[in-house]
């Protein structure tokens, strides 16, 4: 039982990270119907920026671990968000009216570009996060010994998701984003600045992805320039699992995928871990072709 709960909490933490990345995919998809294949690399940029800022500025020494990490996260999010906006302006904006798959190839090109930029700057080897930033604490929760960092990661992702959800549901900008996702033409007629909305989406999505990158660095302690591919793929899977374009769907899909993977690796076979995740996805899509929370789209006649 101990092992089950250990795996469950681990799965929840990893799922939270997947969910944060998945939100970037799903928000961009909602507004532009574009799969931003470079999103995984924005996540990698987040983790490398986090590493650089952490080691060069020694924030945690000056401000203490908590505020240090918090300030670091804010800086990483803003910087990655700006990269996201630039990415959209350069690689996607000229392709708004073109066939959808053209934008996908542009995204793949951007992904190759980012990946190799990171490799040229930092080198191809694994980079290790400093080990002594957060106190190595193990918390006793109902007799379970859970590492502090796992709880923090889960907590941080839940807080960010709740904040995003409130922002999307309650604020004017959030309403504009929902309107643009629903029907861009109608939103324009209602006086919504759709280009502005797209810019905001391309700031928020990558910012969350960058935060997830920082969290992976802190959680696993090492980062590599190719890790964006696999995390991006997993998060994209999560977004589809929940129904792409649907924000709560991405959250549910991410957490679910993390848990399935952790339990599958523990109880079925670690070598088949990734295959299990995809198999579950395929089975769910066979039964529910638009994901768990995706709406049924009426066929146009």
């Amino acid at each position: 039982m101990e092992q089950f709960f250990q795996q469950l909490t681990n799965g929840l933490a990893v799922g939270g990270i997947y969910a944060l990345i998945a939100l970037g995919y799903t928000m961009v998809y909602g507004v532009l119907k574009l799969i931003n294949f470079a999103h995984g690399d924005l996540f990698t940029i987040g983790s490398y920026l986090g590493l650089t800022l952490l080691t060069s500025m020694a924030l945690t020494d000056k401000l203490g671990p908590f505020f240090g990490i918090l300030l670091l996260a804010v800086m990483v999010m803003i910087l990655v968000g700006i990269v996201g906006i630039l990415l959209d302006q350069v690689a996607y904006r000229p392709l708004r009216e073109s066939p959808r798959l053209s934008a996908v190839v542009s995204a793949l090109g951007a992904s190759i570009f980012f990946q190799n930029t990171i490799m040229l700057i930092y080198g191809a080897s694994f980079h290790v996060y400093p080990q002594n930033i957060l106190p190595r604490m193990v918390v006793n929760v109902f007799g379970l010994h859970i590492p502090m960092i796992r709880i923090l990661v889960l907590l941080a992702s839940v807080v960010m998701m709740l904040a995003l959800y409130t922002f999307i549901q309650k604020t004017t900008i959030g309403t504009a984003i929902r309107a643009a996702a629903e029907d861009q033409g109608a939103a324009k007629l209602m006086g919504i600045d759709v280009n502005g909305v797209i810019m905001i989406v391309f700031f928020i999505g990558p910012a969350l992805g960058g935060a997830a990158g920082l969290m992976v660095g802190l959680y696993y302690g090492q980062v590599n320039f190719t890790m964006g591919w696999i995390y991006g793929l997993k998060a994209f899977t999560a977004a589809i699992l929940g129904g792409i374009g649907n924000i709560p769907g991405a959250m549910v899909g991410g957490i679910l995928l993390g848990v399935i993977e952790a339990l599958g690796a523990a109880y079925i076979s670690i070598a088949w871990k990734d295959a299990i995740a995809f198999l579950v996805l395929i089975l769910i899509l066979i039964v529910r072709p638009t994901g768990l929370l995706g709406e049924r789209v009426a066929e146009k006649i």
Partner: protein, 314 residues
């Protein structure tokens, strides 16, 4: 206009035919890769270009073909090229089985499922499924192909084998493009509901496109296995599928000359950028973005179909 275009194609074909005479082994080998990917691109083009399905898992079918050849050759001693029909058949059968339940998924949902498919196949190969795939090392020691007792060994010899296969592929797929089947796929891509309303069995045609593409990928798997003499799971990663996908879209989805040009660009450009050493893929990524921005339909998009009036009215 049409004559001029044919002249360009003929000149290009002639240049290609003679290229092993003046290129060194290295560049002939690059052209071999280009040829393999051109054929793969053409087979994927049936699914993505003609039928308009988002399929990013073509490496799965390629892998089935290559592994079938490798196993038949190393375990049962079947000559490499004789394994080709069975490789194509098994890849097609595999496509038929896996595509049946997923064929109705909409665009992006189909995309992730096909990505999942290629990952599952790769992981299955690494985990030595059925105990015959050799795990992560793969299978090595595959024989060189033999044609009429003539053993194919050097890059230049492979060059003619691969490009002959490419020529046959171009001819057949060109015929397919203009057939009733090809027209049905185009209709399906442009408007699925209208196509169904006009009596086209969409599920049937989509599945047929998938299976034909897979059969072809499986047969190229044979050539790949023969050329490399080794097959391993890493040759059939998700990235391979992405490369094929980029070839089709970058060159011009649905256009045969476009896809061949796409193969030259996607496989050839990183070689040309070799002078930039480590930064070559960086330039390649940027080049892809810019090519897509300046030619949003692909570099050579398919030409609109024209039917002369005197042919249509009797």
């Amino acid at each position: 206009m049409k004559d001029q275009r044919n002249l360009i194609y003929a000149g290009f074909a002639l240049l290609l035919l003679l290229s092993p005479l003046f290129l060194n082994r290295y560049w002939v080998d690059v052209l071999n890769s280009v040829g393999l990917y051109a054929i793969l691109g053409l087979s994927l083009n049936i699914i993505v270009g003609y039928a308009g399905m988002f399929h990013m898992g073509h490496a799965a079918f390629y892998a089935v073909g290559a592994y079938t050849t490798a196993i038949l050759n190393t375990t049962y001693g079947v000559p490499v090229l004789w394994a080709m029909p069975l490789s194509g058949f098994l890849a097609g059968l595999f496509a038929l089985i896996v595509a049946r339940p997923i064929i109705h998924l909409r665009g992006d949902y189909l995309l992730i499922v096909t990505i999942g498919l290629v990952e599952i196949v790769r992981i299955a190969l690494i985990n030595d499924v059925f105990g015959i795939t050799g795990g992560s090392n793969g299978i090595f020691g595959i024989d060189r192909p033999e044609i009429f007792g003539y053993r194919i060994r050097k890059p230049a010899q492979f060059f003619y084998l691969i490009w002959a296969f490419a020529a046959v592929t171009v001819y057949l797929f060109h015929r397919l493009e203009n057939s009733r089947f090809g027209r049905a796929l185009t209709y399906l891509r442009e408007d699925e509901v209208a196509a169904e309303g006009s009596g086209i069995n969409t599920a049937h045609y989509k599945l047929a496109a998938f299976v034909i593409g897979a059969i072809w990928a499986g047969m190229i798997g044979t050539v790949f296995a023969a050329k490399m003499t080794i097959v391993s799971p890493e040759s059939f990663s998700f990235w391979e599928s992405v490369v094929m996908f980029m070839i089709v879209i970058l060159g011009g989805s649905g256009s045969i000359p476009g896809v061949i040009l796409g193969a030259f660009l996607v496989i050839g450009l990183p070689e040309l950028f070799r002078g930039f050493a480590n930064a070559r893929m960086l330039f390649f990524g940027a080049a892809m973005v810019f090519m897509m921005i300046f030619r949003t339909q692909g570099i050579i998009p398919p030409r609109p179909r024209k039917y002369p009036i005197d042919e249509a009215t009797p």
